[in-house]
């Protein structure tokens, strides 16, 4: 059963129980009240009747009561007043039999002074009355008008009200269930649309901070990770095959040419030297690729730990200068925070190393090895790494494509590259919940700003 239906049923049951309890209470209390009221009415009738019939000789007052009675007392259906004289030692068994009521009724009157009884809609009220002629039991009886009409009407009204309330609450429950589960259904629908072909799609994020927004965020984070590893895999394969083929072609070509005829020993030595060189290059590249694969997204080696960004930057600088001694990197610590714990980021050192060295070596490459300024600073939430070069810049119209794999800006033709570094870097930064902002002016330079959230480590 769907949760939506379940919720609806639970709501409906709750509504219905409340309504039933409520109307049952109303019905019972109203009818109870009406019975009591009717018995009171009968009692008054009995007293009046007794006064009129039994106290014969009081003259004017007597006549007044009689007039009042005739004038204002509405005749009740089947109203009847009966008088029985009480003589000691005599029981009312015979009288009871003629009226059709139990003897205990009379016994109650004798002992308590009052008794009530009802049978088939007929109500009996008896009182003890002391008149001048002696003591009497006065029994007033009538059919209950309420029982006949009002209570049926009340029942009908209540049943209609219950049906109406039930329908109404069913509507509310339906709407409520739909309303509550609409965002969930939306999420399901949009997740269904995302497959390996369009991994770049994300769920719409709302600004609210409820559980569903959290779910959406978690989903999007997961998609980020999936997309990153997907892209890395794809890039890796194409990158690797290309990188490996270049030296192989050289080796094959060299060997082919040399073998076409018999050569002198010096020539053989030269050829083999070239082949050795290329083979060594191949070896280096294989090693580098292996390293990339190891640090990559295989889920096992991707451990997040605390990384000090300033140290990392020095490492990156060293690495790049080792790879390319022409690069000119100036690390600017002028805005380094006094509190070093603000520089600690929760992240994977190898990945961040890869990302930063990508950006910085790009800056070196595309500025023809002019000086590259790398600055570092930290606010309370973010660590900022700013890489500023005086290179060729990125054309404005192409700035939005720089994160597409294999995209290379139109002014980069004379530089070697595959268009893989920046998407990879962006993915790594995203993986660390960071942000990368690239701004550029053609022929003037490019500034890359990387924000990484501070890890909130104690000193």
């Amino acid at each position: 059963m769907k949760i939506q239906v379940k919720t609806m049923l639970i709501l409906l049951t709750a509504f219905l129980t409340i309504i039933l309890l409520f109307s049952g209470f109303v019905y019972l209390s109203v009818s109870n009240y009406s019975y009591e009221d009717f018995y009171k009415l009968l009692e008054i009738r009995a007293v009046t009747a007794a006064k009129v019939e039994l106290d014969q000789d009081e003259g004017a007052a007597q006549a007044g009561i009689k007039d009042l009675r005739n004038e204002f007392f509405e005749k009740l259906p089947q109203e009847q007043d009966r008088f029985f004289r009480i003589s000691p030692g005599e029981s009312f068994a015979e009288e009871a039999k003629t009226i059709g009521i139990p003897v205990s009724f009379f016994n109650n009157v004798l002992s308590d002074g009052k008794a009530e009884f009802s049978k088939n809609g007929m109500f009996y009220k008896a009182i003890r009355y002391k008149s001048k002629q002696g003591e009497y039991v006065v029994v007033a009886s009538a059919q209950n008008y309420f029982e006949l009409h009002h209570s049926a009407y009340l029942r009908r009204t209540l049943v209609f009200a219950i049906i109406a309330a039930f329908l109404f609450s069913a509507l509310i429950a339906l709407y409520f269930a739909k309303f509550v589960f609409r965002p969930l259904r939306k999420i399901t629908d949009s997740v269904k649309e995302i497959s390996s072909e369009n991994l770049h799609l994300r769920l719409d994020q709302t600004k609210s901070n409820d559980e569903l927004a959290e779910l959406t965020r978690t989903f999007n984070n997961m998609l980020d990770r999936i997309e990153t590893s997907f892209e890395t895999q794809n890039n890796f394969v194409s990158n690797a095959s290309h990188e490996l083929r270049t030296p192989l072609t050289a080796i094959i070509g060299e060997a082919d040419v040399t073998l076409s005829k018999v050569r002198k020993t010096e020539e053989y030595i030269e050829t083999i030297t070239v082949i050795l060189d290329e083979a060594e290059k191949l070896d280096r590249k294989t090693k580098a690729l292996l390293f990339l694969a190891q640090t990559g997204f295989n889920g096992k080696s991707q451990k997040f730990d605390k990384v000090r960004i300033d140290q990392l930057l020095w490492d990156v600088k060293e690495t790049i200068e080792k790879i390319n001694p022409r690069s000119n990197i100036h690390i600017d610590m002028s805005l380094l925070p006094e509190n070093p714990s603000k520089l600690k980021v929760k992240g994977n050192e190898q990945l961040l190393h890869l990302a930063l060295s990508n950006i910085i070596s790009n800056a070196c490459k595309y500025s023809d090895y002019k000086v590259v300024h790398v600055s570092i600073g930290a606010s309370d939430q973010n660590v900022f790494v700013i890489i500023k070069d005086q290179g060729i810049g990125i054309p404005d119209s192409e700035l939005k494509y720089i994160y597409d794999p294999f995209f290379r800006a139109s002014n980069t033709l004379k530089y070697e590259g595959y268009g893989i570094g920046l998407p990879l870097t962006r993915n790594i930064i995203r993986l660390h919940q960071g942000e990368i902002i690239v701004s550029s002016i053609m022929q003037q330079g490019t500034t890359v700003q990387i924000n990484l959230p501070v890890g909130q480590y104690e000193l």
Binding site: A378, S379, I441, T446
Partner: protein, 166 residues
């Protein structure tokens, strides 16, 4: 020693660069209070006056990048800067400005050589005439040379060495 410096601001990161280079030149042992002051005419309708809240006005003027950059500066000069706060000046007269300076115990004003503030709010006004006419000590920093800057508006702007406003 302790002193208070007033820096006019248009809530751009460029104006924080002024603070940065000012702090660079200060003696390490001086404790410094910084007042980032923004001139803004206040609407004189009764309801606006009734519901006037300085923090809300400041909130509407700043942007996240400015706040982040401000915090970068605070972290850098954590031991040197005692207080760095934003304030708005709503007065119309020179006397009001002088009074403000006196009340806040302003010792000096720091201005860039290139001063061309860009105001986003139409009620904002330039504080320069007031500053010039007051008897406050003015320190001028920066250079008159424009440097191209792609990172305008980002936190990255704080890390460049250009000091000018506008």
């Amino acid at each position: 020693m302790e002193k208070t410096v007033l820096v006019p601001t248009d809530f751009s990161i460029a104006s924080l660069n002024i603070v940065k280079s000012y702090l660079n030149e200060q003696d390490r042992n001086t404790r410094i209070n910084i007042v980032l002051l923004h001139g803004m005419h206040q609407s004189d309708s009764i309801t606006n006056l009734l519901f006037f809240s300085k923090s809300k006005v400041l909130e509407s003027l700043t942007n996240p990048a400015f706040e982040e950059a401000l915090r970068v500066l605070k972290n850098k000069y954590a031991s040197q800067v005692r207080i760095m706060r934003k304030d708005i000046f709503t007065g119309f007269t020179q006397a009001a400005f002088n009074q403000f300076a006196e009340a806040n115990r302003i010792d000096e004003v720091c201005l860039p050589i290139l001063y061309n503030p860009q105001f986003k709010n139409r009620n904002s006004f330039d504080l320069l005439p007031f500053i010039k006419a007051s008897k406050l000590n003015i320190i001028t920093i920066g250079s008159a040379i424009e440097v191209p800057m792609p990172e305008k508006g980002n936190v990255a702007e704080l890390f460049t060495n250009r000091v000018s406003m506008g």
